[in-house]
Each structure stands twice: as structure tokens, then as C-alpha cells.
Amino acid sequence: MIDKKFAMLVEKLYNKTIDGDIEWEKTDIEGVFQASFPNYSIRLSTEKIHYQEDDTITEYYYFNIYNSEGKLIESTDNYQLSDSLEDSYDKMEKMYHIARRRSLGVEKAIDDLLSELDDDLPF
């Protein structure tokens, strides 16, 4: 069971990601994005799992913490957080996609393109 402190950590990181205060980067693994602090790194990833019993597909968002030696020390997902963090799935999903967009430079690309299009307008 994930304690409330961990849920608080995820919530804070989510809020700072929304505010644009976290520098997310691509990693060596496709679809995994990372933010580093002086002594720890956090990686976000996602996985779709197909449950054959009822033929459903569920998407999970993972939150992993790595220590100063780069070793995984803790891992959770939106499902484990659901009791401690309100709207855990929505928050983790949004945080992941913002991290992805920022890492891949999508937002900057859109801003640059918008700027180009504004310059071309005659008015």
C-alpha cells in the first residue's frame, strides 16, 4: 500500500509539471521520460495490458524513483495510488503526456509554428 507521502510527492510533481517547472527528457527506452534532481531521478512510463479473461485493455501509468547510483528504489502506478491520490489515473496520464510532449519538443514546435504563421499573416 502506497503511503500518503508518496501520493503527495506524485501530486507535487504533477502540479509542477503542469506549471512547466520540471525539465522532462527522453531516455534510452522508448516511451520513458525522466526528470532528475541532485540525488534522484524520476521516470514515467506507460503500458497497455490486455486481460484475456474479459478481453479488456487497461492502460497503466508508472512512476519510478531512482537513487544517486541510478538504481530503482521505488515504483508505483495509478492503480496503486488510487486510494491515496484523488484522480490518480487522470493526473498520471496528464503528467505523462506533458512529459512526453516537452521531451520531444512538441510544445516548442507548436509555439514556433504558430509564431511563423502569425508573421505570415497580412494583418
Binding site: 527506452i29 525522466q34 532528475s36 534532481f37 544517486s68 541510478g70
Partner: protein
């Protein structure tokens, strides 16, 4: 001799000489205090200069460590291209330990630099795990172009930090 004494007594030169003597003592006192203050300032300046020299020496050591780490990363890129998967895990591990050592021996390093080192440490740890697993399970190794792209990014970042530290010494 009596004439000299009488002369001194008549014109109160005894008292006058005492007053003059007292003035010299007071002036001498202030001169001593000023000299002590000047020498204190000089020793403080000498201490400051010594601290600056030691700080620069530490920065030189850090520059050497960063340069070694960047060279190790360049070598890793070459080994990726050569598909030297058997020896790469040891190289990743050695590099990771070097980066950890840089962080540990420079606790007052800017947080931004520490975070950049942490990014590199985590990335190389992850790459090491991937390659180790592929070697053990005899599966195809990770994509070389993708790995080298990640390594190149770490090189660029460390190079930027190296330049900034060098500029701090030159100021």
C-alpha cells in the same frame, strides 16, 4: 651642571619634556594600532587569496574528472558502433562510478550540475541493465543509434558544464 638644572627649572622644561614625551607615547600608540590593523587586513587578504587558490585547484580537479567522463562516453559510443556488447557493461559501470564520484567530491556544486550528473548516472545504469539482460538472454541488443543519441546528449550537457566551470576559473 647646576646651571643646566637651574635653566630647566626656570623655564619649566621638565614639565614640557614630560608633555612632549606623553605626546610621543600617544602618537606611537596610534601608529602601532594602525600597523596592527594593516597587518590584519594583509593577513585576511592573504587568507582570501589562499582560499581562492584552493578553490581554483578544486575546480581544476573537477575539470579533469569531467573531461575523463566525456572521454569515457566517447569511447562507449565507439564500442556501441563496434557492437562490443561483452565489454560494454564494465565500461558503463566504471563511467557511472566516475560520475557518482564527481558528485560526491563536489558537494557544493550547483544543483543544476548535480541534476545533470544524476541524469547521466540514471541513463547509464538503465543502458547497463538493458545490455546485461540482452547478453544474458542472448537477445538482440538495444538499438545502437538510439543509445548513441542518448550518450551524445549527456556528452553535450557535461561539455557545457565543463565550459562554465572553466569560465569561473578565468574570471
Amino acid at each position: 651642571m647646576d646651571k643646566i638644572v637651574n635653566f630647566l627649572i626656570e623655564f619649566n622644561l621638565g614639565i614640557l619634556s614630560s608633555v612632549i614625551g606623553l605626546l610621543f607615547v600617544i602618537i606611537g600608540f596610534f601608529v602601532t594600532v594602525i600597523n596592527v590593523l594593516r597587518s590584519k587586513k594583509a593577513s585576511e587578504k592573504a587568507e582570501e587569496a589562499a582560499v581562492q587558490v584552493m578553490d581554483n585547484m578544486r575546480k581544476f580537479d573537477t575539470i579533469t574528472e569531467f573531461s575523463s567522463a566525456i572521454s569515457a562516453m566517447d569511447e562507449i559510443k565507439r564500442l556501441h558502433r563496434q557492437k562490443a556488447w561483452d565489454i560494454l557493461p564494465d565500461r558503463y559501470s566504471f563511467l557511472r562510478k566516475s560520475l557518482i564520484s564527481i558528485k560526491t567530491t563536489n558537494p557544493n556544486m550547483l544543483k543544476e550540475y548535480q541534476s545533470a550528473l544524476q541524469t547521466a548516472i540514471t541513463n547509464f545504469s538503465s543502458i547497463e541493465d538493458q545490455v546485461e539482460k540482452a547478453n544474458l538472454q542472448k537477445k538482440s541488443p538495444p538499438d545502437i543509434a538510439k543509445l548513441n543519441k542518448v550518450v551524445s546528449k549527456q556528452i553535450d550537457k557535461l561539455h557545457q558544464i565543463l565550459t562554465e566551470i572553466k569560465n569561473q576559473i578565468n574570471r
